[in-house]
C-alpha cells in the first residue's frame, strides 16, 4: 500500500484507479483525428471558437501569475487544434492550479465556460497520463479527498490530511495548525460516516468507471 502510494505520488498519471477506463475509451483516444477541441465540444458543449482572445479571463484570473499557460492561451491552443498544442494544454500546470472561482466565465464577453472546459481537461489529462508533475500535490489532494469520501461518504478532515500527507510525502505541512484546530474544536479524530456507505461506493464505481468526465 505504502509503496503503491509513493509511486503514485511521484506520478499521479500512473494511478490506474482514475484512468482504468482507458481501455474503454482507448479506441477513441487512438483515433488521433479527433482534436481536443472537438472532444471539448462533444463532452462539454463548449465551442472554443467563440473566444476572440480579448484576454479578459486572464486579466481577471486570481491565479494567472501562477499558471504556466494563460487561460486565454489555453483556448488559443485549443482553437489551433494541433496534436502538439493539445498535448501542451493537457500537460499544463494551469488546468490544475485553477481554483474554479468562475471569475473568467462571469467576465467573459462571449460566455465561454472555461471552468467547465478546465474540468474536462483535467480528467482528460489524467486519462492520457499527461498530468503536469508540478501538479502532483494538487492531484494527490483531490485523490485523497475522494478517497476519504469514497470510504466514509463524508469528508474526514483528519484522515484527509493524513492521507494527503502520505501521498504528498509532506507530513509536516499544516501540522502546526492542527493543535489549535483541535483546541478550537475544529478537528475530529473519529470519522463521521454515512450509514449507507455501500451506496456511495456504488456511485464511485458507476461514475468513475463509466464516464469520460465530460457530458
Amino acid at each position: 500500500m505504502q509503496n503503491n502510494m509513493t509511486e503514485i505520488a511521484e506520478n499521479p498519471s500512473k494511478d490506474t484507479y482514475y484512468s482504468n477506463d482507458l481501455q474503454k475509451w482507448g479506441a477513441e483516444i487512438k483515433n488521433k483525428d479527433i482534436s481536443l477541441k472537438e472532444l471539448v465540444f462533444n463532452e462539454t458543449g463548449e465551442k472554443v471558437s467563440l473566444c476572440y482572445q480579448c484576454g479578459k479571463c486572464t486579466a481577471g484570473c486570481p491565479l494567472s501569475d501562477e499558471m504556466d499557460i494563460a487561460p486565454n492561451t489555453i483556448l488559443r491552443l485549443l482553437q489551433i487544434g494541433s496534436k502538439e498544442y493539445d498535448r501542451k494544454v493537457l500537460s499544463s500546470y494551469t488546468i490544475w492550479v485553477c481554483l474554479s472561482c468562475e471569475t473568467c466565465m462571469a467576465r467573459c464577453p462571449k460566455e465561454v465556460d472555461l471552468p467547465a472546459i478546465t474540468d474536462f481537461l483535467r480528467s482528460e489529462s489524467i486519462r492520457r497520463h499527461l498530468a503536469n508533475r508540478k501538479a502532483n500535490n494538487i492531484i494527490n489532494f483531490h485523490k485523497a479527498f475522494l478517497h476519504s469520501i469514497r470510504g466514509s461518504g463524508r469528508l474526514y478532515e483528519f484522515g484527509l490530511v493524513i492521507g494527503y500527507k502520505l501521498r504528498a510525502k509532506n507530513l509536516f505541512q499544516d501540522v502546526l495548525l492542527a493543535p489549535s484546530m483541535i483546541t478550537h474544536g475544529k478537528l475530529k479524530f473519529i470519522p463521521a460516516k454515512v450509514k449507507n456507505s455501500s451506496q456511495i461506493k456504488e456511485i464511485f464505481q458507476k461514475t468513475i468507471n463509466n464516464n469520460r468526465g465530460g457530458k
Binding site: E66, L99, S100, D119, S123, N137, H142, I149, E157, Q199
Partner: protein, 304 residues
C-alpha cells in the same frame, strides 16, 4: 415551518460555530431545520476536477433523499456545497443524458423539484422579517461583507444580479444596525480549493482580501461560507506571511451576528471557536494577547 438542511462536511467539521449559530437563528425565526438523512459529501472541487458525473451524482443523492423526505426547500449554508448542489440540480434539469443516467447511479428516484437556498436566500426569505427592531448600538462596528466566489458565480447558475458588487449581505446587516464598508474584494477568490495543496496561494489571495478590508476601515469581515471563513480566520500564518505584517481583523459568520441580534450570547454563538477573537460585549475588540501571541509565533514557525 420545516425546511431541509444540508450541513455539509465543513459545518460538522471545521465550522461548528456556523452550524450552531444558523440553527439558533432559525429557531429564533420559528423555522425548524430538518437535516437530510444520511447525507453525503457534495464532492467539492475534487469531484468536479476528476469526474463530471461523480460531481453530479454525489450532490444528487442528497437532493433525492431530501425530496423523498418530502422537503420542498433545502438550506445549504456552505457556499461550496450550495454551488455543487445547484450545479447538479441544474445539470439534471438541462441535460437529458444526466437525467437518463443518474437514476441507476444513485439508485434513488429524483424528480428535480426541490429548491436550493443559500444562507443569504434563507436569511432574506425567512429571517429578515423577524429582524425588525433588532438594531442594537453594540453593533457599532464596520463590516466588510465578503461573498467569495460561489455565492455569486457563475451568475447564470446562481441568478445573482449584481454578481460583481452584491449588496445582499449589506442589506441584511443593516437590519441589525451594522454598517458595511464599500470595498473591492467582495467577490474575489480566497483560494479555498488549494487550501491544503498550495497554502502559499491561499496566503496571497486571502491576504489581499484582508488587506483591502483593513485599509478601508473595516472592523470585521463577515462571511457566509465556511471555506471562506476558515481560510480568512485560520490561515493567518500564510496570510501574515504574505502581507509581511500581522493582522487581527476577525472573520465571522453572518449568522453569528444575527444570532447576537436575536439576543443569544456570544457563547451560544460559539465566538470561542474563532481563531481571531472578536467580542461585542464592550465597545472595543477584546484583543486577547494570548491569541495574538499564538498568531505571531505561528507565523514564525511556518516561515521555518
Amino acid at each position: 415551518m420545516k425546511i431541509g438542511y444540508f450541513p455539509g462536511c465543513s459545518l460538522h467539521g471545521t465550522a461548528p460555530e456556523y452550524e450552531a449559530s444558523l440553527k439558533l437563528v432559525a429557531k429564533a425565526a420559528d423555522i425548524e431545520l430538518v437535516e437530510i438523512e444520511d447525507w453525503n459529501c457534495c464532492g467539492a472541487t475534487a469531484a468536479h476536477s476528476m469526474n463530471r458525473m461523480l460531481s453530479i451524482a454525489l450532490p444528487a443523492r442528497n437532493l433525492a433523499i431530501a425530496e423523498k423526505m418530502g422537503l420542498e426547500e433545502v438550506v445549504v449554508p456552505c457556499a461550496a456545497c450550495y454551488s455543487r448542489l445547484l450545479f447538479a440540480l441544474n445539470e439534471f434539469k438541462l441535460d437529458e443524458k444526466v437525467r437518463m443516467n443518474l437514476q441507476p447511479i444513485i439508485e434513488t428516484e429524483f424528480k428535480g423539484n426541490i429548491k436550493i437556498l443559500n444562507v443569504l436566500d434563507f436569511l432574506e426569505k425567512y429571517v429578515m422579517d423577524a429582524l425588525k427592531n433588532k438594531v442594537d448600538d453594540k453593533f457599532k462596528k464596520k463590516a466588510a461583507c465578503y461573498y467569495g466566489c460561489l455565492l455569486v458565480r457563475p451568475p447564470k447558475l446562481t441568478n445573482s444580479e449584481r454578481w460583481d458588487d452584491p449588496l445582499r449581505m449589506e442589506a441584511i446587516l443593516k437590519k441589525i444596525g451594522i454598517d458595511s464598508i464599500d470595498w473591492s474584494f467582495k467577490t474575489e477568490c480566497c483560494g479555498a480549493g488549494l487550501s491544503i495543496a498550495r497554502t502559499d496561494i491561499v496566503g496571497k489571495l486571502s491576504g489581499k482580501i484582508i488587506e483591502d478590508a483593513k485599509d478601508r476601515g473595516a472592523d470585521m469581515i463577515v462571511t457566509a461560507c465556511p471555506m471562506c471563513q476558515s481560510n480568512l480566520d485560520m490561515r493567518r500564518g500564510a496570510i501574515n506571511n504574505y502581507l509581511k505584517k500581522d493582522n487581527n481583523i476577525p472573520a465571522i459568520f453572518i449568522t453569528q451576528l444575527i444570532g447576537l441580534a436575536f439576543g443569544y450570547s456570544e457563547k451560544d454563538m460559539q465566538f470561542d471557536k474563532l481563531f481571531v477573537p472578536i467580542s461585542f460585549s464592550n465597545n472595543n475588540f477584546s484583543n486577547n494577547n494570548d491569541n495574538l501571541k499564538m498568531q505571531k509565533s505561528k507565523v514564525k514557525e511556518v516561515k521555518v
